[in-house]
Amino acid sequence: MHAVTTSGLTKRFRGGQLAVDGIDLAVPEGSVYGFLGPNGSGKTTTIRMLLGLAFPTSGSAELLGVPVPDGVTRVLDRVGALVEGPAFYPFLTGAVNLSRFDAADRTADPRTATARIEAALDLVGLQPAANKKYRHYSLGMKQRLAIAASLLRPRELIILDEPTNGLDPQGTREVRALIRQIAAGGTTVFVSSHLLAEVEQICTHVGVMRTGRLVFQGSLPDLRQTGAARIRVQTADAGAAVKVLSALGLAEPQAGDGEASAILAGAEPERICAELVQAGVGVRGFGIVAPSLEDLFVDLTGEGFNVSG
């Protein structure tokens, strides 16, 4: 059973730009799914389509088994969402803002509204600022209020779009702890981020977007396995070491400063070491280096400041 599925979900903006290009998401129920990709890779547009805010150009999507956007009013009361930053009425207090959104929910029980609002504010540590006008909130407080709004009721799925934007490291840690807590209750969490490091510790699954396409989807161990481990030899004679490595048929041999490396693939490290010694290469250090998730992520999404799309 999946909390979110999409099939060939596509969004072409009126200007002709393809923002989301036929993606097939499968978010397992109960998972914490990190939806990763650089800014502009189509994450928010995808989330907007899931929430029925934007209509897909083609393809289909289901939330908790209900087709969207047709069934949004039937399913969204079981879904909490934070989309593209917090947005509230600046002239209302935090608590009144939450009661406004609770009032808009026709399936919410008005009798428990006050208690639920207090609990949600408590959960994000905003109780002391409950009666302060939203316009006087700091960026971090605004972000927390948005998370509180998504937790006004028990949810089966929480969609958080860049929930740590604008938060200091302390706040980021708190949000991570909160996501863990939500997930521990059995709620599926779909969290988007442009930073792998922010979600790496809490995700069970990831989907990686690049220029509107889903370039990877799977569990974190799956993602790790896509990376090719390299054999790394520390030696004074890197050139000679590279010759041995390429003679052994290893791919991408590279000579660096005081070291040589190549992709290990299926080769036996013991044999490589023996060959090196036999060829008279002085081996100071020898090891296998698995690429970091960060490296894999950058490989998938492209490097640096290239704004995709």
């Binding site: 907007r48 929430l51 029925g52 805010l53 934007a54 209509f55 949004v72 009013t73 969204l76 009361d77 079981r78 879904v79 969402a81 989309v83 593209e84 930053g85 917090p86 947005a87 509230f88 009425y89 600046p90 002239f91 009661s99 406004r100 959104f101 009032a103 808009a104 929910d105 026709r106 399936t107 919410a108 029980d109 008005p110 208690a115 639920r116 207090e118 609990a119 949600a120 408590d122 959960l123 948005a146 709004a149 937790l151 006004l152 009721r153 028990p154 949810r155 089966e156 807590q181 939500i182 521990a184 209750g185 059995g186 709620t187």
Partner: protein
């Protein structure tokens, strides 16, 4: 943590609360507790007050233009304070009341889009059609409130500054004060209906943009353009089809027998405009991406 655990638990099966007025009440709170809208209502109240004082001081024996309906109201004022209400409604109906209505109507959806709260309301989910219906109901409530503020304040000021008594109608016959007050009540409702029509047009324009100022300006431009067009003699044949043409028709209620043909045509025109505008708003709002 115990309270929080309840929230972060597994979801229960949601129970629908049928026909709840909670969302509408919340919308009314947004409209009527907002400082800006209260200032607008204060303007609506201050205008008849100033008008009464100015007319008392400047023209104690009546006066003013005599060739128009409003002129007729002016000349009656010295003898009967109730006419201050008709003067206030007819003068404010050309610009002040449409302007106040435009601000609230133009802001209704565009303002939510501007704040970004629109996407969160829809994600709640408020439902697009339901959201529009609630927005429109609150606009009608604001229009009613504004017109009744104008007629109530002007009636009070008129009674305080001028004599009050039996009312001489535009048709020349005199009716009792009670009859006159009933007619004032009906006139106020007729003007409120005009505001409800404008509210629907404003709601539609408000769904077209995420910039409330643009929507407000567009509604106002529409009102002024319609009024100018209605006053051009060469356009007399199309004038009755303009949205503002029937607004001043409320003097039909100040004749005996009542000029029901004008009233029916006026209300029909409002209804047609309101329905067309509401349908356009619905068609637009339920099919457009929310990008704010």
């Amino acid at each position: 943590m115990s309270v929080a655990d309840g929230i972060v638990g597994q979801a229960r099966e949601p129970r629908a609360v049928p026909m709840s007025l909670r969302f509408f009440q919340s919308e009314l709170r947004i409209v009527f507790r907002r400082k800006r809208n209260l200032v607008l209502l204060a303007v609506a109240a201050a205008f008849p007050l100033l008008l009464g004082i100015v007319l008392k001081v400047s023209a104690p024996g009546g006066g003013g233009p005599n060739d128009t309906t409003t002129g007729a109201f002016f000349s009656q004022l010295a003898g009967n304070g109730i006419f201050l209400s008709f003067i206030a409604l007819s003068t404010m109906l050309t610009l002040v009341m449409p302007m106040l209505m435009s601000v609230v109507a133009g802001d209704s959806v565009a303002g939510e889009a501007g704040y970004g709260t629109l996407r969160y309301l829809l994600a709640v989910p408020a439902g697009r059609t339901r959201l529009l219906a609630v927005k429109y109901a609150a606009l009608v409530a604001f229009g009613l409130c504004m017109t009744f503020v104008v007629s109530a304040v002007s009636l009070a000021v008129g009674a305080a500054l001028f004599p009050i008594g039996p009312v001489t109608l535009l048709s020349g016959n005199t009716v009792s004060l009670a009859d006159g007050l009933l007619r004032l009540f009906l006139v106020t409702l007729y003007v409120a209906a005009a505001m409800a029509q404008l509210g629907a047009i404003g709601l539609f324009i408000s769904t077209l943009t995420e910039h409330p100022i643009g929507a407000i300006a567009a509604v106002l431009v529409l009102v002024v353009a319609s009024e100018i067009a209605a006053s051009v003699p060469q356009l007399a044949t199309v004038a009755p089809y303009l949205p503002t043409y029937w607004w001043v028709g409320f003097d039909a209620l100040l004749r005996s027998p009542l000029d029901t043909s004008t009233l029916v045509k006026g209300l029909l025109s409002y209804a047609v405009y309101a329905v067309l505008a509401a349908l356009s708003a619905w068609a637009r709002f339920t099919s457009a991406d929310v990008t704010s």
